[in-house]
Each structure stands twice: as structure tokens, then as C-alpha cells.
């Protein structure tokens, strides 16, 4: 699927999307599509608009032009909670877990917010993240960065999303947990046929997971790399700012 192709099996189809902060435009004419169950990476230098794109898709920044269709519904007119109700999941940069709630309550909050009062779903989610099991009664704020990231992922899964927007999940995380996160995401994608849009600076991580990588420069998507292109180190380094 190409950058702007609106495929009938697309779960997310973005066309001509623009947004910014106040009068300062950040994104312009963003177009891409994500197929159901596909893992798409987004790569770019710092300040190119990757996080702004995810925040715009989630509704935390208002779009100024364009359309984002999620499972056929136009997201741009919806508040974030309505987007979440459609099945759009979000794991933001910095995790943003609820620090004064226990791990269990963080998960329960997500399940309740998505209209699920059955604890069986939470038990399923905890089985995916066994490292969280002994931490259920601990406050979110006292967990390590890696544990918080696992909790943020688990909390997102508790809302039963169809597509997850992941913003730099490896930022400040120790390598052993990064591997665990990568393995878990692969498993989730396979078992639940879930789609992902991953913004990441960690090349190994994005290579290991993404089937396609979109390159962002100055608020625009300028190129799409196939999974084969992603292996070409020089090309990726040129766009990631690591060369």
C-alpha cells in the first residue's frame, strides 16, 4: 500500500491532514494509509512533527485541513474519547500513566473507560505482560521507566483497540525491556491482527517491527521505505538524524 492510497482494507486513511499550535502550522498535507493488522513506522529528525501527527490523529491537537478516516469514520470532527471508543489506542511519549493509581487501577480505569466492566479482559491483558503481575498493587508512579512502559501498553490494550498509535516506546528504557516490548508487540499484532503506527528513533526497534516506514521532514511525509529499504542503513540514517 503506497503513502496516499486509500485501500478498501485500510483501517486508517489520512488525506491532506494539516495541523499546528495556534497560528504556527506544523503538519501539512499528510497522506498515508494503514491496512488492518499492518505495522507502520514513522521516522524523522526531532521536531519534524511525528508526535504532532499522533496527537492530531488522537484529537489532542485540532486538525486545520484534511480528513482522517478510521474504519470509515471521519475522526477530525470527534473528541479524543470518541476516537478511543471507535478503537483508536494511544500510548503517548513519556507513558503518561496515572502515578497515584495502582497498576491494577490504571488497567481498570482503561477497561471501564472503554465500557468494559468485566475483569476477565484485564486478566487476559495481564497474561500478555507477566512482568506486571507482581506489581498490581503498587502505585504507577513508583515503577521503573520500563515497567511504566509495559503498563502503558497494557493499559492501552485494556481498551480493546483496533489500531495503536505508539509514540517512542523505547525512550529511556533499558535494552532487556526493549526486547520484551518488541516481542510482545509482534505477538499482539499476530494474535489479535492489530494495526500499529509507531513513531520511534530506535532504528533496531523500528526495523524489527515495521513492515513499512514513512519518513517525515518539516511536517510532511516525504518518502516511504519498504521493509527491505529499512535494512539499508545509510538510507535510514539519512532520515533519522543519526548519520
Amino acid at each position: 500500500m503506497s503513502i496516499s492510497e486509500n485501500h478498501p482494507h485500510s483501517i486508517l486513511s489520512v488525506s491532506g491532514l494539516a495541523s499546528g499550535y495556534g497560528n504556527i502550522p506544523i503538519l501539512s498535507d499528510i497522506s498515508f494509509a494503514v491496512a488492518d493488522g499492518e505495522f507502520v513506522g514513522i521516522l524523522g529528525h526531532n521536531g519534524m512533527g511525528k508526535t504532532t501527527l499522533l496527537r492530531t490523529l488522537m484529537g489532542h491537537i485540532c486538525s486545520t485541513a484534511g480528513v482522517a478516516l478510521f474504519n470509515g469514520c471521519n475522526l477530525t470532527t470527534l473528541v479524543p474519547e470518541a476516537r478511543a471508543a471507535l478503537g483508536l489506542g494511544y500510548v503517548p511519549q513519556g507513558r503518561q500513566i496515572f502515578p497515584a493509581l495502582s497498576v491494577w487501577d490504571n488497567l481498570k480505569f482503561a477497561a471501564l473507560s472503554s465500557g468494559n466492566e468485566d475483569d476477565a479482559k484485564l486478566a487476559e491483558v495481564i497474561d500478555i505482560f507477566p512482568r506486571l503481575k507482581p506489581l498490581l498493587s503498587r502505585q504507577g508512579g513508583v515503577l521503573s521507566g520500563g515497567e511504566q512502559q509495559l503498563l502503558a501498553l497494557a493499559r492501552c490494550l485494556a481498551t480493546t483497540p483496533r489500531l495503536i498509535l505508539l509514540d517512542e516506546p523505547t525512550e529511556g528504557i533499558q535494552p532487556s525491556i526493549i526486547e520484551e516490548i518488541a516481542d510482545t508487540l509482534k505477538d499482539i499484532q499476530k494474535k489479535h491482527h492489530m494495526a500499529f503506527v509507531l513513531v520511534e528513533q530506535n532504528l533496531e526497534f523500528i526495523r524489527a517491527l515495521s513492515e513499512r516506514v514513512l519518513i517525515m521532514q518539516k511536517g510532511c511525509i516525504v518518502q516511504e521505505l519498504t521493509s527491505e529499504d529499512v535494512i539499508k542503513t545509510d538510507l535510514v540514517h539519512e532520515f533519522s538524524g543519526l548519520a
Binding site: G59, H60, P80, Q96, F98, P99, A100, F109
Partner: protein
């Protein structure tokens, strides 16, 4: 011995009535970070609702425990929808708007009821302890305050509604990303805070009488107590009410009510000097 018992009852009554007056403000300020300068007028509305209902033949307990919180809760819901909702995240604007609302409510009440004290007789009578008479209504106030605080704790700590409210209070943007509606949660929270203020006004009406300007007498003490209590809504309200109400009452007994109020203020200043995040900001982090 009789004097000690009466003194203890008076301290408990003062602490309870202070906690009761603070409860609505603590919920709104603690959970929404909205400084509601019309809090005192919500108490006044609860008082007038109780007096009017009782004078219209409604049993006094129904007027106090049902009609007053219900009426002020509805008023709070409308005020949140029409005024406060549009000002979230703009603390100074919210203060100005609720201050204006406070003046409006005082003006309207004065126009409708006149600038005179209205009241109802306190029920239950009194008992004698040695040479002293103790109003049973004071004991009722202590009991109902404990019941309100326990019920509030239960709702916040052990119900799904409380969990959603606590999460949304900590990070509204993330809460909305997970599917919770911060706007609806704020609406429910403000309505609940207004209803608690109405209940306080209803309970205090038989004791203090009701006058359009009565809110001013409560709002300053309530703010001082809530700020001194710190971030944890209930634990903060209870501990700050206990310390400030206790010191104020004992000083009042020992000297006079003016020095009692001065002692309350001085204690709050000293506590905030050494505990700038309030009592619970230092000792009870994460408590409800």
C-alpha cells in the same frame, strides 16, 4: 469532668462543621483545580432552600438532607454547563467568573428574601450534662459529617465512578485518550461539590440562620482549610479541619471568638510555611 465532656463535644462540633463547610470546596478545588469563589453562596442557597422548604411544610430532615443538596446540585450543574465549563484551565478567569457569580447570587437573594435573617428552629432539643446543656443537633452535625466523609471516601476509593474521577483528575488528556470524557467527569464532580455545599448550608441553617451575605463568613475559612489540607481531598480536609477547628475552638473557649479566628489563621500560616504543599502533600501522598 462535665466541662471536659462539653468541651470535647464543642471541639468535635467545630471540627465537623468546618469539615462540612469545606467538603464541597475540597471536591471542586481538589479534583478540578477550580477556585470556586461562589462556594459560600452555594452554602447560602442550601440554607435558604432548607428554610423555604421547612416553612412550606416539608419535614425539616427531608429539607436538609434531600431538598437542599438536590436544589443546589441542580444549580451547580447548570452553572458548570453555562459558565465554568468554558473556563477550564484558566484559573484567574474562573476566579473572576465565580466571584461575579457570587455577587449575582447575593444580589438575587437580597432582592428576593431581603437583607434579614431567616431561620428554622433546631430539632431534637437538648440534654443536660452536669451544669451544662448540650444541643442534640450539635451531636447530629458531628454524626452527619462523619457519614458524609465516610460516604465520600467510599465513593472515591471503592467505586468505578471514584476510580474514573481520580484518574481524570491526575491526567485528563490521557483519560480522554482511554475513552473517558473529562467534560462529563468535571460536570459530575462540580455538581457533587455543589450538592455537598447545599447540604452544608441546609445542616447549618437551623444553627446560624440564613442571610444573603452568609457565604462570606464561610468561604475564607473553607479556603484556608482546604489549602492547608493539601492535595488529598478527604484526608486533607479531615486533618486540616481537625487541627484548625480544634485550635480555633480551644482558643475561643480560653479567650474569645476573635482570638479563636486569629489562632486559626496563624496556625494555617505556620503550617503552610513549613508544609508548602499542605499537610497531605507532605505526609499522605496518594491518599484520597
Amino acid at each position: 469532668m462535665d466541662y471536659i465532656i462539653v468541651l470535647i463535644l464543642q471541639v468535635l462540633y467545630s471540627v465537623a462543621s468546618l469539615a462540612l463547610v469545606c467538603a464541597g470546596l475540597a471536591v471542586v478545588f481538589g479534583m478540578m483545580r477550580v477556585i470556586n469563589l461562589a462556594h459560600g453562596e452555594f452554602i447560602m442557597l442550601g440554607g435558604f432552600t432548607t428554610v423555604l422548604s421547612a416553612n412550606a411544610g416539608v419535614p425539616l430532615m427531608i429539607a436538609i438532607l434531600v431538598i437542599a443538596p438536590l436544589a443546589v446540585g441542580i444549580a451547580g450543574y447548570l452553572i458548570e454547563r453555562l459558565v465554568v465549563r468554558h473556563l477550564y484551565g484558566r484559573m484567574v478567569d474562573t476566579m473572576l467568573a465565580t466571584w461575579g457569580l457570587s455577587l449575582l447570587l447575593v444580589g438575587l437573594a437580597t432582592m428576593v428574601f431581603g437583607n434579614q435573617v431567616a431561620g428554622v428552629a433546631a430539632p431534637f432539643g437538648s440534654v443536660t450534662i452536669g451544669a451544662y446543656g448540650v444541643s442534640l443537633y450539635d451531636v447530629f452535625v458531628i454524626g452527619i459529617t462523619i457519614a458524609v466523609l465516610v460516604a465520600s471516601y467510599f465513593v472515591l476509593a471503592h467505586t468505578n465512578l471514584g476510580l474514573i474521577a481520580r484518574g481524570a483528575m491526575q491526567n485528563p488528556e490521557m483519560a480522554s485518550s482511554l475513552g473517558a470524557s473529562p467534560a462529563r467527569i468535571y460536570s459530575v464532580t462540580f455538581t457533587a461539590g455543589a450538592a455537598l455545599s447545599g447540604l452544608a448550608g441546609g445542616i447549618l441553617a437551623p444553627l446560624s440562620g440564613v442571610v444573603p451575605t452568609m457565604g462570606a463568613a464561610f468561604v475564607a475559612k473553607a479556603f484556608i482549610t482546604v489549602i492547608t489540607g493539601g492535595a488529598s481531598i478527604l484526608t486533607g480536609t479531615i486533618t486540616a479541619s481537625g487541627i484548625l477547628g480544634g485550635i480555633s475552638t480551644l482558643t475561643t473557649f480560653a479567650i474569645n471568638p476573635v482570638i479563636g479566628d486569629v489562632a486559626l489563621l496563624l496556625t494555617a500560616i505556620i503550617l503552610l510555611r513549613f508544609l508548602p504543599y499542605g499537610i497531605t502533600g507532605r505526609f499522605f501522598r496518594g491518599a484520597n
